[in-house]
């Protein structure tokens, strides 16, 4: 085994010297506090704000649905009208 190969071997074997590490007590405490922290964050947003946002979204969706419905109706009427007009103009030619 030449010098380079032994160097490579030693470096690749360096993983064997990586020891396990225990998390600190502080980290464990932080992890155990996650449920409380999330609940606090959830409670910090007033229920009134949540309901107002939900109602606004609902109104927006309804308004869009209504507009779409109106648009579909009007484009259908326009299409029918054009069809009738072209039909009668053909009769007129006769």
């Amino acid at each position: 085994m030449d010098k380079m190969e032994s160097k490579l071997e030693k470096t690749l074997n360096a993983v064997k010297h990586v020891n396990r590490v225990e998390p600190s007590e502080h980290l464990k405490a932080r992890l155990h506090a996650i449920p409380e922290g999330l609940k606090e964050a959830y409670d910090r947003v007033p229920k009134k704000v949540v309901w107002t946002v939900a109602a606004s979204i609902a109104v927006l969706v309804l308004f869009n649905a209504f507009s779409l419905d109106q648009y579909t109706d009007s484009s259908q009427n326009t299409a029918n009208q054009t069809q009738e007009e072209s039909h009668f103009s053909y009769l007129k030619q006769l």
């Binding site: 490579l8 010297h17 020891n19 590490v21 225990e22 600190s24 980290l27 932080r30």
Partner: protein, 194 residues
């Protein structure tokens, strides 16, 4: 500490918080080691572990026991670590790796994080740092597979489950990782010995 999964799921249905604390006690150490081996910095690893357990708490209700609990948590940890590394990396080569930068496969972003692995003793630090810097040049999944197998002692089938892939894919990842590491290191030593 091994966690009884059946007991855990029963507890999860009755008391989510208690089940979560049980999970923290069983997995905090293992997940911390996985994260620290991937991000190589104690403080960063602590932040990633916190993100992992927050994600676990938020989606714990959807855990139905189809997959192994450990596999599920490990995959969250791997994804969070990858996410963290992507944020912390940039496409700039370290001076000592420039000789191998011509190959397109070495265009991986390199971590700019400081090497501060708490599990590496001072006398081994230099050699380990060289190896870890070379590992940073590997493709993401090659790096994860190599770290989990070589440092954490996970079997190929365990890694396959965590990465949601086949054992043969893990074998191929490991084969390519070893080959590339050898090339990176020999190039590095050749350049530094001159």
């Amino acid at each position: 500490m091994e966690l009884d999964e059946e007991k855990f799921i029963t507890l999860l249905n009755s008391d989510k918080d208690k089940a979560f604390h049980m999970l923290v006690n069983a997995y905090a150490s293992r997940i911390f080691n996985t994260c620290v081996n991937l991000v190589r910095n104690k403080e960063d690893a602590e932040d990633v572990v916190q993100e992992v357990f927050t994600a676990v708490y938020l989606s714990i209700d959807s855990f139905d026991g189809n997959a192994k609990l450990s596999t599920w948590i490990y995959s969250i940890a791997i994804n969070k670590s990858k996410e963290f590394l992507r944020k912390k990396t940039r496409k700039k080569r370290f001076g000592f790796m420039t000789t191998i930068g011509k190959d397109e496969s070495h265009e991986m972003p390199i971590a700019t994080i400081e090497f501060n692995h708490p599990g590496v003793l001072l006398e081994n630090k230099e050699r380990t740092e060289v190896l870890f810097r070379a590992m940073d040049q590997l493709a993401e999944n090659q790096k994860v597979a190599y770290t989990m197998h070589k440092i954490e002692g996970k079997s190929y089938s365990e890694i396959a489950e965590i990465l949601n892939t086949s054992v043969s894919s893990v074998e191929s990842l490991m084969f390519r990782a070893k080959g590339k590491l050898k090339k990176l290191l020999s190039d590095y030593y050749e350049k530094n010995e001159k």
